[in-house]
């Protein structure tokens, strides 16, 4: 044990990271059914039903209207805001035939070509993206 960690101080720091949603308990609760819906696409027979009629499939899950719309729109940043977790959302973009690279590039606001080029050049620098408060 390295000393007691105050859970409030621990969580508060997460909001200081630019462009990042840490999957906290709050998000896990908000996104529970959204993530479980995504998980259901692990089964081939569910993937077939989903592809046949996405809206009807979503109606089987107790999601908010905002969550349903964001799924239909494949708006992954919005889905993260609504409690989605990337490893669960991966079942949705995998079913669409997209790789992590393709799906992740859509969240960065860059084209796949721009994003891939950035990665080949060494990735996004952490400079200026560590802390909103401390501008570092």
């Amino acid at each position: 044990m390295t000393g007691t960690t105050d859970i409030h101080a621990y969580l508060a720091e997460f909001d200081d990271i630019p462009g990042t949603r840490v999957f906290t308990a709050k998000r896990a609760r908000q996104g529970y059914h959204l993530n479980q819906f995504a998980m259901s696409l692990m089964k081939a027979e569910n993937r077939e039903r989903w592809k046949a009629d996405e809206r009807a499939y979503l109606e089987e899950w107790p999601l908010s209207d905002e969550q349903k719309q964001a799924v239909l729109d494949r708006d992954y940043n919005r889905l993260l805001d609504l409690g989605g977790n990337i490893y669960f959302l991966a079942k949705v973009f995998s079913t669409d035939g997209f790789s992590f690279l393709q799906a992740v590039s859509t969240m960065s606001g860059m084209s796949l070509e721009e994003y891939s080029a950035m990665m080949i050049a060494g990735g996004r620098s952490p400079e200026g993206l560590r802390s909103i408060r401390e501008k570092r």
């Binding site: 621990y10 997460f14 940043n77 977790n85 490893y87 992590f100």
Partner: protein, 281 residues
């Protein structure tokens, strides 16, 4: 003759590396540099011929969904099938467990005050099968028994680095009290820097990653005290997976010697890091 931990391996477990192997793309210019750094390890591992690998990884919404979230889950079953992660199962061999040693570790760690979750049936995803492919290639059967140790690094809070290190120490004590002549390795997987979400996606921190690799060697205890927020700020939201390397490091004891090291950017969204360590008496 008792079982003993003879070496530790750290490696990324990027799913695209597995796909590159499965699709025969490892010679392509994009992928070749990432794989080149594993050739030394493949040759070394043929000589080592370990009996068992304790493979520390995280499940990526494959065996575990949001219903049950164990912090430390040890696979005590006879066998584990590659998971269907949404695009069909990887065509890699079934992973054969070592139930006797796994149950021994589970029991010993629980008495040692680590509250392990015991798993008798689960599928194993890329987090576990990609490291096996990186080190053993494409055999008909994996040449080693594997004890999966799944760590929650998805839903916050994950275990602290210090807790992971201490679990490694407890695992080493457990292995050393298993009365069978077994050559056991422990692998820590995941990382290095990467962020798979949001506008900051694609973050890579070469300098930080390499300082992490530096401190795995020798007798430094610094890594156990890195707080989660530092991983998040410096290495991206998924860089937190590196706490799993500390279970490996903790299990190697007081000090280590580095046998091999490799670092390459990128593999898909991720910095590939790899290290081979042996314990020093």
């Amino acid at each position: 003759m008792m079982a003993r931990i003879t070496a530790g391996i750290g490696t990324s477990h990027v799913p695209a590396l597995g796909a590159a192997i499965d699709l025969g793309k490892t010679e392509e210019p994009y992928w070749a540099p990432a794989f080149a750094g594993y050739e030394w390890t493949r040759a070394w591992e043929r000589q080592q011929a370990p009996d068992v690998v304790i493979l520390v990884y995280n499940d990526h919404a494959s065996a575990f969904d949001m219903k049950i979230i164990p912090t430390f889950a040890i696979g005590c079953g006879e066998r584990f099938e590659p998971a269907d992660e949404g695009w069909g199962r990887r065509k890699v061999p079934t992973v054969m467990g070592h139930p006797d040693l796994a149950w021994h570790i589970a029991q010993s760690c629980i008495l040692d005050e680590f509250d392990m979750t015991i798993v008798n049936e689960m599928d194993v995803d890329h987090g576990l099968t990609v490291p096996l492919s990186m080190v053993f290639g494409q055999p008909e059967a994996w040449p080693v028994r594997v004890i999966p140790l799944a760590v929650n690094v998805v839903t916050y809070p994950p275990p602290s680095g210090n807790r992971c290190w201490a679990l490694g120490e407890a695992i080493a004590r457990a292995v050393e009290s298993f009365p069978e002549d077994l050559n056991v390795q422990i692998w820590g997987t995941g990382g290095m820097s990467h962020q798979l979400q949001g506008p900051r996606a694609g973050l890579i921190n070469r300098e930080w990653d390499n300082r992490f690799l530096d401190r795995l060697e020798g007798d430094s205890q610094e890594l156990r005290h890195i707080p989660h927020i530092e991983y998040l700020r410096e290495t991206g939201s998924e860089g937190i997976e590196m706490v799993m390397w500390l279970i490996m490091r903790g299990a190697l004891g007081r000090a280590t010697r580095m046998l091999h090291r490799h670092y390459h950017v990128p593999a898909s969204n991720t910095a590939v890091g790899h290290i081979v360590l042996e314990p020093l008496p």
